[in-house]
Amino acid sequence: MEGELAQMGKYIGAGLAAFGLGGAGIGVGNIAGNFLAGALRNPSAAAGQTATLFVGIAFAEALGIFSFLIALLLMFAV
C-alpha cells in the first residue's frame, strides 16, 4: 500500500513535470514565430541570423529539457 502510493505519486509527479515541456514548446514557437516575422520584414538579414535562431531555440529548449529530465528521473530513477 505504501509502495503503491509512492508509485502513484511518482507517476503524477512525472505527468506534472511534463507540463514544463509545454512551456518550452511555447518558448520555441515564440522564438521561431518572431524570427519569421522579422525575416519577412527584412529577408536579406535573415540568412545571417539563423545561427542565432538555433542558439536561442536551444537555450529556450534547455529549460524544457530539465522538466523532461525530472519526469524521467521520477519515472525510472527514484
Binding site: L72, M75, F76, A77
Partner: protein, 172 residues
C-alpha cells in the same frame, strides 16, 4: 522484439543502466579518435587542398576572362579606329572628287563664259560695224538726196556745202 534477442524486456530506462556506461564510453572514445584521425590525416587536408585548388583555378579563370575582356575591348577600339579612318578616307575621297568636279565645272564654265564673251564681242563689233555702215549709208543717202533735191530745185549743189549741212543735220 524483446523475445527475439533473448534479453529481458527493459526494466526502466536502459539509458540509466550504469553497468553499460564503461563499455559505451570506451567504444565511444575509440570511435571519436578514429574519426578524428580519419579527418585530420586524410579528409580535411584533402578537402582544403581541393578547395584552394578550385579557388586558384577560379581566380585564374577570372584573370583570364579579364584579360580576354581587355583584349576584346582593345580589338573593339582598333575596329572603331579603323572604321573612323575609313570614314575619314571616304570623306576625303568624296571631297576630292567634289573638288575635281567643281574644278572641271569651273573650267568648263569659264571656257563657256569666255566663248560667250568672245562671241558677244564679235557680235558687238559686227553690230557696231553695221551701225557705222548704216550711219555712213545714211550720210551718203542724205547727201545724195540733198544733192538730188537741190538739183531738182534748179540749183547747183555744192557738194561740200551739202555734206556740211547733212553732217550738221545728222548731228543736230
Amino acid at each position: 522484439m524483446a523475445t527475439e534477442h533473448g534479453a529481458a524486456p527493459a526494466v526502466g530506462m536502459p539509458q540509466l543502466d550504469t553497468t553499460t556506461y564503461a563499455n559505451q564510453i570506451f567504444w565511444l572514445a575509440i570511435a571519436l579518435v578514429a574519426i578524428y584521425l580519419i579527418l585530420t590525416r586524410i579528409a580535411l587536408p584533402r578537402i582544403a587542398a581541393v578547395l584552394s585548388e578550385r579557388k586558384g583555378t577560379i581566380t585564374n579563370d577570372l584573370l583570364m576572362a579579364e584579360e580576354l575582356k581587355s583584349k576584346a575591348k582593345a580589338a573593339e577600339a582598333a575596329y572603331n579606329e579603323a572604321l573612323a579612318q575609313a570614314r575619314a578616307e571616304a570623306g576625303r575621297i568624296v571631297a576630292e572628287a567634289r573638288a575635281a568636279i567643281q574644278r572641271d565645272l569651273d573650267a568648263a564654265t569659264a571656257k563657256a563664259d569666255a566663248e560667250i564673251a568672245a562671241k558677244l564681242a564679235q557680235s558687238e563689233a559686227r553690230i557696231a560695224e553695221i551701225r557705222a555702215t548704216a550711219a555712213d549709208s545714211v550720210v551718203a543717202v542724205a547727201t545724195d538726196t540733198a544733192e538730188a533735191l537741190v538739183a531738182a530745185l534748179g540749183g547747183r549743189a555744192d557738194a561740200a556745202m551739202v555734206a556740211a549741212a547733212v553732217a550738221g543735220r545728222i548731228k543736230g
